[in-house]
Amino acid sequence: MINPYLPHQAKIQSVKQETTGDRVIKTFKLVLEDNSCRESFLYKPGQCAMLGVPGVGESMISITSSPTQKESIAFSIMRMGKVTSAIHEKEAGDPLTLRGPYGNHFPLDEWKGKNILTVGGGIGQAPLSSIIHYVLDNRTDYGAIDIIYGARTTADLCYKEELFEMERREDIRVHLSIDVREEGWDRYVGFVPSNLLRIKPSPENAVAITCGPPVMIKFVLKNLLQLGFAESQIYTTLENRMKCGIGKCGRCNVGPVYVCKDGPVFSYVQLKSLPEAHIS
């Protein structure tokens, strides 16, 4: 019988500091040490994995790379608690433990032929980034791609260089924002939900995926409905404290569903049936 609690060892290939200030986010690219583990670790955008530091503990982190990026598995991690602080101390070449992948995933096969709109805020861009790379690497399968992403300040924006580069591409539209005016910022200033209303993406043949702080999600959902998106066209992810990743330890439930195995991806239709999600 497989022991689902036994993690594999992974080596940190690179560490990139994404943000500065009091909420530092770093992106860690990992490579599983064992060849057979590397081949069997098959994931899809939206899934999570348990990262660990022996003697410190484990944290569930969403995978920010796309499975089309074969060279490594990437995780963007905000320094928050005991485990994420210990991970932040690690450098390229250091080992971490990894188990997973866990949970469901974005239905990217169902979305083939559709226009893709992602609406992200802060660290919420992490799982959206996986979608973006996936659709760009399978570009002909999808229609127009719109990325709406914002953070409090430029120092809090993740994946800056990558997004600035995408701004110059013809086959994708990037709409960045910060909450408060800053010297040298010539893009939108204001909250993400307002930027969404300003850009007015068409709901025609589209899906919208939103991840970010709960208050942002609340207004993004409201504004998407106002723009004419149907509830079945809207997706988001939930997060909760997790320990096992396999629906046993109990704590990540939202009503009858366990975020670790039944989520983290939910359609708005599903969320509305879960009173504990406090979404409507």
Partner: protein, 339 residues
């Protein structure tokens, strides 16, 4: 099903003849009894009443080492300690045995838990019929009974001077085979006596409720102030979950002693604020009202929807042992009569 008679004064002898098993049974610890590994059957203290912790802890220990890490930080393959020899757990309440069935539906399915499954498949559960149910027992409202055989490999009925033993499974049959010389075919008197104790035990259950009304109202009461009222007495101590034969939630923590790291799992409780506390400080269930509501919904709605059975066997421990006098039956009755 096979059945046998066993003289009461041969019980200890019966337990001693079981050579190839590790015996676990209640032993006296002060005012209570606790399930422990017993090397000398003389120490067995059969007692269904003063048993705060159900036999659950034998399959889901309060603290269990998942594995240790080596010097390189690699997990060492665990050996599922203590599960090589067959375990004979004697003197289990029928309600507690039903509790294992409820845990099985989570731990044996959909990515099975190897630590639990190894112990479970290696354990023979021998129940003791509950001839004198206790004031807070309500197993009959949850589909059980003081004489339920569900989840048991064999069940002992106290027939005065002797036991009548019913054996339900192959695993149970293998164990009693070793003690064949002490067993007899049950006499007609024993069978009559057994039927009498079964009937009388059911009649002695004093408390009951109707789950149908609870389930119906659960659909509409999620935002009701009833949960705040219910939680007013609760002190979030978690005793209801620790003593529950169907609660199975755990925490995983790393321990580092003298440079040696281990990953350990420990019982946890949905009554604790830390249980759901995010690293960011956000807590989806910040007060006792949300936590108690979640526990009630899990046991009396979600478990029924997901696994077809309530997450409660009506053992009454959470009522008897609550230091704040929370009464699960009264709480369920107030849900039932809320609308």
């Amino acid at each position: 099903m096979e059945n046998y008679g066993l003289k009461k004064d041969s019980l200890k002898e019966f337990l001693k003849t079981l050579q190839d098993v590790e015996l676990f049974a209640p032993v006296r610890r002060g005012d209570v009894t606790a399930f422990e590994h017993v090397s000398d059957p003389e120490g067995v203290a059969l007692d269904l009443e003063h048993q705060p912790l159900p036999a659950k802890k034998l399959l889901l220990p309060q603290t269990e080492i998942l594995f240790a890490f080596d010097k390189k930080g690699l997990p060492k393959e665990p050996d599922f300690r203590g599960t090589k020899k067959k375990r004979f757990v004697f003197g289990v309440r029928p309600c507690d045995a039903r509790g294992f069935g409820i845990i099985d539906s989570v731990y044996e399915k959909d990515c099975p838990d190897p630590y639990y499954v190894a112990k479970r498949s290696n354990t023979v559960l021998a129940g003791l019929q509950c001839s004198h149910p206790f004031p807070n027992c309500f197993c009959t409202s949850l589909g059980g009974s003081p004489s339920s055989s569900e989840g048991l490999d064999l069940l002992f009925f106290d027939c005065g001077g002797s036991y009548l033993i019913e054996v339900y499974t192959e695993k149970g049959q293998q164990v009693v085979k070793e003690a064949q010389s002490l067993l007899s075919s049950p006499s007609a008197e024993q069978i009559t006596e057994k039927e009498k104790v079964v009937r009388e035990a059911a009649e002695r259950i004093q408390r009951s409720l109707s789950l149908d009304g609870v389930l119906r109202n659960m659909e509409i009461l999620f935002e009701d102030p009833i949960w705040g009222d219910m939680a007013r007495k609760c002190i979030s101590c978690g005793i209801c979950t620790y003593t529950c034969p169907t609660c199975y939630c755990f925490d995983i923590q790393d321990e580092k002693i003298q440079g040696k790291a281990k990953r350990v799992r420990i019982w946890d409780s949905c009554m604790f604020g830390e249980y759901t506390l995010h690293a960011s400080g956000h807590n989806p269930r910040p007060t006792r009202a949300e936590r108690l509501r979640n526990r009630m919904y899990h046991k009396f709605k979600h478990n029924i929807d997901l696994h077809g059975i309530a997450g409660c066997v009506g053992c009454g421990r959470c009522i008897t042992l609550c230091p704040a006098n929370e009464d699960l039956i009264e709480n369920l009755q107030s849900i039932e009569s809320a609308r």
